[in-house]
Symmetry: C2
Subunit: 339 residues, 2 copies
Amino acid sequence: MKRPTIADVAQRAGVSKGAVSYALNGQPGVSEATRQRIIAIAREMGFNPSSAARALSGASANAVGLALCRPARTLGIEPFFMELISGLEGELSARSYGLMLQVVSDQETEIAVYRRWWGERRVDGVFVCDLRIDDRRVSALKELALPAVVIGGPGHTGGLASVWSDDAGAIVEVVEYLAALGHRRIARVGGLNGLLHTETRSEAFEAACRRLGLDQCVTVPSDFTGEDGARATRRLLSSGRRPTAAIYDNDVMAIAGLAVAQEMGLAVPGDLSIVAWDDSPLCKLVHPPLTALSRDIPAYGAHAARLLLAAIEGQPIGAAQDQTAHLTPRGSTAPPRRA
Amino acid sequence: MKRPTIADVAQRAGVSKGAVSYALNGQPGVSEATRQRIIAIAREMGFNPSSAARALSGASANAVGLALCRPARTLGIEPFFMELISGLEGELSARSYGLMLQVVSDQETEIAVYRRWWGERRVDGVFVCDLRIDDRRVSALKELALPAVVIGGPGHTGGLASVWSDDAGAIVEVVEYLAALGHRRIARVGGLNGLLHTETRSEAFEAACRRLGLDQCVTVPSDFTGEDGARATRRLLSSGRRPTAAIYDNDVMAIAGLAVAQEMGLAVPGDLSIVAWDDSPLCKLVHPPLTALSRDIPAYGAHAARLLLAAIEGQPIGAAQDQTAHLTPRGSTAPPRRA
DNA sequence: CTGAAAGCGCTTACAG
DNA sequence: CTGAAAGCGCTTACAG
């Protein structure tokens, strides 16, 4: 059987197409009895209104977009994005919104994708990840007047709606914890320079170390890949006075760091304490399990989705703060062994 | 400025809407000079044809769908899916096809999603993952006449198009390799029972062991999570005559297995050799790095995307074999230490 | 409460 | 080679 249209349902019910539309969309204009009858017939016929036709009439695409700007290799390995996506998804599909996904190679392409999606009326709004300082996407989105929610911040969103998590507060908690354990030399393997959250963490890390009088702390940048995390760790552990604790900006690098320590014959946590940012199940799989900064990423995504849907409805949305990551101590942190 | 429509372009160019359509879609019906002029004007105005209007006229949604039926936690941690998606994506976006993504909790929901997508004309075709034996989705898809490519096999696709990889051949290579190293007691931590590829691997594993006279080989099932992989490993390593080598059906479980061995004071590869199925970057991050069955997952995805696009065009597509995974030996395998 | 009609933005035969 | 028109499947004022 062909896919039924609203006309088929109307004919079968002996009413006009308009009546079917009203009945199915919960609009006034049909009696309750007629509505129920129409709904029953539509269900029985397996009728689904054409999203194209609805979009053309109602101007709403009933879909939102997510463009991911990371190379395939990094994307695959970082649990963060899939968890985020499943969070977005749960909220979206509950309201029968679709999610369009596209992997892009750079910001210019990403902007072009937004432009095309919006021009094609394929999406009603988009999510923006990996916010940068002076992010060109922000101005492009405002120019397009495309509803958007930035996943990141605080600030630098140019007035776009956003959800953010207090990274600065979280890293302070970690530094204070390590300091309390007795660590004086703490290294941090940071994320990509230029990303707002990397900068936020770097500043907060430095300030916290200064405040606690830890004058031998250092941040080395990385590209988030395990390889780079391993390389950075090797360098740090080969230096004259090596750190006794290391904080990694994602879980993958933390795991790579753990492997490097083992490879160099150092005990974790005896010779090196390790803290991972983002607590995916990976952290519990290695030996010792990694102390990590945990937060509910799917919930973060769901939060973002609710905001975007509200923004699409025209509600004025500002910056919403999500849960702050909290420290989950496991076997990879301990007081430093006496030198 | 509002999003321009084809009428705006036509007016600006001083031609009919039909002419603009012909020019932009490379159809005959306009002179080359006019075509070029129209194209230039459309570009300058930033015109993108409404996908809804196109879909309504042309009957093609220019999008395909992927429903993922795994809990959020497993999805996030398995590099496989993100790599697959980026492979699909590359091929799709090159032909400006969109990808609709939805996370579902079970097969019935997945079928309902297919039904809705197709009814709404949101997608022109779908990808099917995690093929099962007697998979209800296969018959549902055939009933809907929704173009589909099954990512998996061989067989059990009910005549739907498919891409598959020779898992049986790959596992034979592993077993022969381990046997050549001198292993006699090989364990396998398999994937979810009921998944076709799990069954395929299990049978091939058993047959290979029998052929080589390894009569103490065993497969234990798991749910693909690291936790379950760890649990299975603990059980295997606690048994009277513990295996000297273990094969894991995904990389996450292999890593969990490695941690369990370390936790129990066993040396890898001295006391236990480990082989991971699916060689993500994770395998190279741990110490020792894991011997793995490698294949190009993004290429696998791209292959699937090409097939689906061809199927949508009405070409008859059968079962296409993709690259077989090959063994990449690393530090986690060696001859068993003399008992 | 219901029906007939216009309109969304395209594509595609069909005349000129 | 070009223009005018129908039609895709909906939604939504507008009359009855």
